[in-house]
Every structure is written in C-alpha cells, then in structure tokens.
Symmetry: C2
C-alpha cells in the first residue's frame, strides 16, 4: 500500500495527515512548531515524526506542504511566523527523507485546493476561498491548480484595498485592506467605530467580540446589523473583483467568522449581485466544510493531482 | 512544411496569420466580417479564405482563434458584435476544414498570450495585459496559460468597479467600472467634467479627444495633467488588485491610449507603488509591442503551446 502525506505548517503547530492514494485520511496527528534558531528544526521535526510511523520510504509517494507565507514554484519566499526567509523545502526535506516528490504551496491556497477536492466545493475547478479569522486569507484555484503567482502573492486578497472611508491601518503597511474591515478584528473595529460615533464617546469601545456582534445582529440589534451589512458589502466587492479576474464558479468562506453561516453568506452574495456583469446568479457561495483539516487534504491533493 | 493559423475575429474585419512551427509569421491578410444572418457566414468565410491559399489540410497543424466575447473551455459563450450566441467553433469550423485541432480564446486574453510569446512581455509566464481603447479590455496569463474562468469573464478587468466618486454609467449596466474612467472615452469624460466644474459651465464640454488631453498634459496644461494623473490612479489601483489576485511579473498596456507611452506608464507604475505589499518595485510596466497583430500571434501560441 502506498501513502501520501499532507502537511500543514502553522505558527504554533504542524498538522500531519497520512492518506492512501484514493484520498482517504488514514491517520492524523500534530506536533508543535519549534520556530527557534531561524526555524531550522521544523523540517527535521516533521521528518522524525513521520519516520516514527515506521512506514517504508518506498511506500510513500510524496509530501504536500502548506506554509504560512508566500510561495512561488514550490519555493518558500518567506514565512515570518516560522522565522524562515527563503526556504527550499523540496531540497531540504527531500534530503531528510530521501524522496524529492514534494510540492509546496501557501497555506490558504492549499486549503482552497483541499476544499475543491474533499470539501464543500468538491467538483469545482475554479474556486476562491476566503478565510475570515484574525486576518483575511485567500486561496485561488483556476483549472484545478493553485494560483501562486510570481512573487507568491497570488490569492493574497486580504490585502486588496477595498475601503476608502475608514482607511484603518493594516499591519502590511497600507490602509483600507480587506483584512482591516472584514476580519474578526475588523468587525470589532467597525462596531467600536460606529458605537462611539452613535453615543458620542471619545474612548474606543472594544469590549465586544466578533462573535457577539453576530449574535447581536441575529437578535436584530440595529448597530450590529449595520456592521454585518457593511462588512458583507466589502466582501461582496472583493468577490466582484475576483469574478472579473479569475472568474471562479464558487466562493468558499472559511475561518472563525464564517461560522456565522448563511446569515453572513446570504448578505455577501446579495452585495455581490449588485455588480451585475456576467450571470451573477450563477455563482455559488458556501461555507468551507473541512475546518482545520483543509490544509492536510490540500497537501494530499498537491501530490495526487500532479500525478 | 507544417503551418499554424492564428485568426483574430473582430466586429468589422477578421485578421488571419499563417505561421510556421517556430512562430514566424509567413503571411497575413484580412477579410471583412459578415455579421448577417446571426453571423453564420463568418466561419465559412474564414475556411474559404484559407482554402484559397492552396495549402494541403494535412500540412496545417491547427487553428487558434481569438473572438470578441467571453469564452470558456474553447466554447464561445456569446459575441454581441458578431451576432453570435453560444458558438462551438471547434465543431463547426472543424467540420469545414476536417481538422479539429482548434483552440479558442477571448481576444484580449489571446492578445496577452501573443505579447508574452512574441511581444514586449516575451519570457514572462505571469502577465496581465490591459487594452485602453474605446473601452478597457484585459487579458490574464498565469503560468503561461490564459485565465478564461468559468463563465468566460476571466480578465474582464474593464468592468471592475474602481471609481466610487463619479459613478459614471457603464454600458454593462453598472457604474464606476474601470472602463468608464480609463478608456479614451473615460479620459474625455473626466476632462469634460473637470473643465465644466472649473469654468462653471452647465453644458458638457466634449470637444476634445483623449489624444489631445495627453498632448495638453505633456505641454503642462494643469487641467489635462490632473486628468492623466487621475486615470493613472485608477489604473494603478487595478494593477494593485491584480498583483494580489493573479500576481503577474508584468503589466502590458495596449490600445490607442497606450500610445502615450512612458508619460502614462510611469504614472501608472507610481500610483501602483503606493500600495506597498510585496516588492512593488519588482513589477514591470510596459507598452504592448505587437499592435493589432497581437491577436494572430496569440492564436498561433494557443496551438503551439498546447502542443
């Protein structure tokens, strides 16, 4: 029996999935990410953990990696959270396991690949996944393949400028990025802004979670509803942009914020449809279904689909 | 000797190029586009014109088409200017010439392909071409292949909403599309708007060409300069969006407006660089070099590169 490993390297833990060749997840586990010494322990730690499974290397077809940073042509450009600058995983990890059938992608792109092969976008060949968490990540699939681009910024839609009013500062150095308004942080920020404006407070009101804003909105709280409608407008605009660039058939929403489900998705879809160009009704909007397993499934797909 | 035909179908004429297998243009000619009777004469006219060249069909490797409308997976979705609704060129033209090695793309995407194989973006594998004429067209190449998307709207960047102030109506039915501000028509429109505002005129001032606005700007006319700076901002913003979606290494500008050359390109590049995310200095900005031959070169490349 042959196996494929899908490996999702995050800033605090590394998820490892062992698959058979038809894409069934046989075993999964995770190990902590040791980012010390410029992150040089990370790949040996992964190799060791897999070695301990006692599988013959000749029974392992290949390894698909997702990493939290820009990747182009299987080469990691940088991963701030791992303390990596440029990293050639194919050579380094390949030498450790004596198998060079290794593919690498940005974690958001790899998660998107997982969703089209095993998740809620199964069967779609053109898809965009938008992950709404502390930040906003994006993954683009065109004709079944990840779009990583030249400098690894393919699908970095969290940093598209979509807001020209608040112009909140983003940690990337510019202002008004999608991430500044549509992440969990952005939702809190806009709520605070509107709350303070409404009640003429001088001090920033930040004592509310994004989850609470959604709950209040579902309970018809006027201010909370206004906030959710507004972030849906930003997300609808982002989808509009994507419909006229890579033109996917489905938009998949993942991350903590997407747990709001249809309440959010329907608003985004409605905002999107205002930009009528080609068949706005034909686009699907859905919530991601693989949760934090999307990365390992995508890692599997990186190897299997190239095969 | 074997040949490839690159065919660029426009609303008034059809350009046909005969290439050898190393991409040399051996012969080119054009025939008028007969759009009568739902455009049913177009493909037979092309087949007849090529037949008259007296080349053995067995010496023709294939035919690459560019058409003025959305295309997905070689299927034409519609071409308003040709009076075509859905059109299966592969079957219909294939039957006429008894050769089914036929590829079809949207004309702007095919022109972009021509520019990366034979024009000013030669050697680039990830590129975006923006055509600034009466309208604004776009073509996207990722990993050497055209992005046409699911509904053929891949690269339709002329209809991305980039203007939130003027909100000029677009012929697509929405407002504020890139085309409404950055086409030749858009340049005239913004000039008229600013001119009227400055001199408090009630009547619209439209008696100026986009070319004249550029000439005035080059002669330091304040109002004209303001207009060119402003449309450069819109185009810089569009490039920002594209850098974070498909992430190309080069932006190519074609169409009549691009004749303004460096005067325009440098302003767009400067506007783009304000959105700092990943290495803004690494992106190239250039003017297209193939003019109206880009389509036939791209048609050649459709066949040759798949081969």
């Amino acid at each position: 029996m042959k196996f494929i490993f899908g490996i999702d390297i995050g800033g605090t833990s590394i998820k490892i999935g062992q698959f058979n060749l038809v894409g069934e997840l046989l075993y999964k586990f995770s190990i902590p990410t040791n980012t010390e010494d410029s992150g040089k322990h990370i790949l040996p730690d992964i190799a060791r953990a897999i070695h301990e499974l006692d599988i013959l290397e000749s029974d392992i077809l290949g390894y698909g990696f997702g990493v939290p940073g820009p990747v182009s042509n299987n080469q990691v450009i940088k991963c701030v959270n791992l303390n990596w600058t440029e990293k050639d995983i194919v050579s380094e990890f390949g030498e450790l396991v004596n198998n060079y059938y290794i593919k690498v992608g940005n974690d958001a792109n790899v998660a998107a690949l997982g969703e089209i092969t095993h998740g809620s976008a199964r069967g779609h060949h053109h898809a965009v996944m938008i992950t709404l968490g502390t930040g906003v990540g994006g993954g683009i699939i065109s004709k079944g393949h990840m779009i990583d681009g030249v400098y690894g910024a393919g699908g970095e839609i969290g940093h598209i400028k979509v807001d020209f009013d608040y112009n909140f500062e983003c940690k990337c150095g510019t202002k008004g990025c999608l991430e500044t308004v549509a992440s969990a942080t952005g939702i809190k920020r806009i709520y605070a802004h509107k709350h303070n404006a409404k009640y003429s407070l001088n001090q920033s009101y930040t004592d509310i979670s994004a989850k609470q804003v959604f709950e209040d909105a579902m309970n018809q709280d006027e201010l909370a509803l206004e906030v959710i409608d507004e972030i849906s407008e930003y997300l609808g605009y982002a989808c509009h942009i994507l419909s006229l660039t890579i033109n996917p058939s489905i938009f998949i929403f993942g991350g903590g914020v997407s747990k709001a489900g249809d309440f959010l998705i329907e608003r985004i879809s409605k905002a999107f449809k205002k930009y009528r160009f080609i068949n706005p009704d034909q686009y699907e909007f859905t919530v991601a279904s693989l949760g934090n397993e999307a990365g390992i499934f995508g890692g599997y797909a990186l190897i299997k689909r190239e095969n």
